[in-house]
Symmetry: C2
Subunit: 267 residues, 2 copies
């Protein structure tokens, strides 16, 4: 079995949420990671490779691997309702790791996305029919799959949730940041002081929602200038906490972001 198949297995496993025991999955992955050294296949497009990311020699990489494999206490977040606000182009790990973690910790998790966008004909955009019910995930520039939408952004309000996750990927916030329903929902989260966790390019949406003035945040390195220009103090560290606003830079910061998010949810 080559690495491509291995990555596919992990991804499909995460994606479809077929019933598996966390432990069996953990053992099977650990065995399979040894195969990594044998891998020689190059990606055909620039890709964020899950196996490469979680097996790289770095403290944050090891944290991510352990976090993904850890057995959860399914009572930790019992009764909590969490929105993950995302659309097409969301980075796969940035939606699947929180989704998986929060569900395994007992929360009810909803992928919240705008209805199928209705671009003017003059834009020349074609949206596949599956976009009516699903959003497209990516691994950097590789299109990786479709995740089911649980609730449409147009139909929800802050009262429906106890916390919100705002993941990244480049196109995802690019679409969401001009969506006034997204602004309204995020502003309501800040006004009602509910936990809001965002990472990578996700905080760009907060720029357009006008929520960054005087706040301490972080984000993917390429957008730090935009966050700063929007009035935020940007700190280059894995997790930045400012009240209920929690931000991170990159998928390998997810364990710290999710742990802090959990603490804020159960306070």
């Amino acid at each position: 079995m080559n690495l491509y198949n291995l990555q596919k297995i992990i991804s499909v496993t995460l994606c479809v949420f077929i019933s598996y025991s966390s432990q069996a999955f953990s053992e099977s992955l650990t065995n399979k990671i040894d195969l990594y050294e044998a891998a020689s296949t190059s990606a055909y497009v620039p890709t964020l490779d899950t196996i490469k990311l979680i097996t790289a020699d770095g403290e944050l990489n090891r944290e991510l691997k352990n976090f993904m494999l850890k057995k959860r206490d399914s009572t930790t977040l019992k009764g909590k309702k969490i929105a993950i606000l995302a659309t097409d182009g969301v980075e796969e790990l940035e939606i699947l790791v929180p989704l998986n973690y929060l569900k395994e910790s007992g929360a009810e998790v909803f992928v919240v996305s705008p209805k199928k966008p209705n671009f003017p004909d003059t834009f020349g955009v074609k949206m596949p029919e599956i976009r009516s019910t699903h959003i497209m995930t990516v691994r950097l520039m590789e299109n990786s799959g479709w995740i089911k939408i649980d609730k449409f952004l147009e139909d929800v309000s802050v009262e429906d949730f106890d916390g919100l996750v705002l993941p990244g990927g480049s196109w995802n916030p690019d679409f969401l940041r001009t969506n006034t329903n997204a602004h309204t929902l995020l502003q309501a989260f800040v006004e009602t002081n509910k936990p809001l966790a965002s990472l990578c390019h996700g905080p760009l949406i907060l720029v357009n929602a006008g929520l960054l003035k005087g706040r301490k945040v972080t984000g993917y390195w390429s957008i730090m200038k935009d966050l700063e220009n929007a009035g935020a103090t940007v700190i280059d560290q894995p997790l930045v906490t400012d009240g209920q606003l929690l931000t991170s830079r990159f998928p390998y910061d997810l364990p710290r972001l999710m742990n802090a998010f959990t603490e804020h949810l159960i306070r």
Copy 2:
């Protein structure tokens, strides 16, 4: 022949620059556009569809179609050397339309890109081997092809060119905006007062190069807030001219952008 094949033909024609007469191409395209109505295939990923864009009922769409089909005077830009600065994720039409237009108008055109990026292992990024010599184009979220790099960004300076084009796509400027060689080159273009044309997400690079304070510009709607926060006055119109800095919003603005760029080059 279905629309997918038709789009492929146009794209391959533009891409490979096989020797064709503009007129023959024009006639063949005009005949084929009639087939558009018969198209029923949906895209499998969110796509910017060339045929849909150039046949849509809009003034700017018609301008783009006519511009793409027009026969050029190959002496207009004779002796001019133009850089198109771009990397992976550049929107296909935003690189191919300028490339084709400027070459047909007699200019020598160079695709200028950073050498194959050397991400730290901890990022988990895999770059295909072809990235050593080519960059990847997209149509919105559809990965569409690889264009040959003519000169590496690391090896050029402002003296090598009379003008520069900075196209968009979401990932392309995201990669370039943290590249200090890109900043240096763009700053030198502004200092030496040479024409600089940018569109869509391209102007984001100017944010990080610190070139927008007090300037009048435009760009893709989602980034307007970032341009404004960087100190620019943003105007929502197809072409904004401020000295030698020319900016546009979307591929259908390309004819006005390229015509203004030409005027500035031959002044």
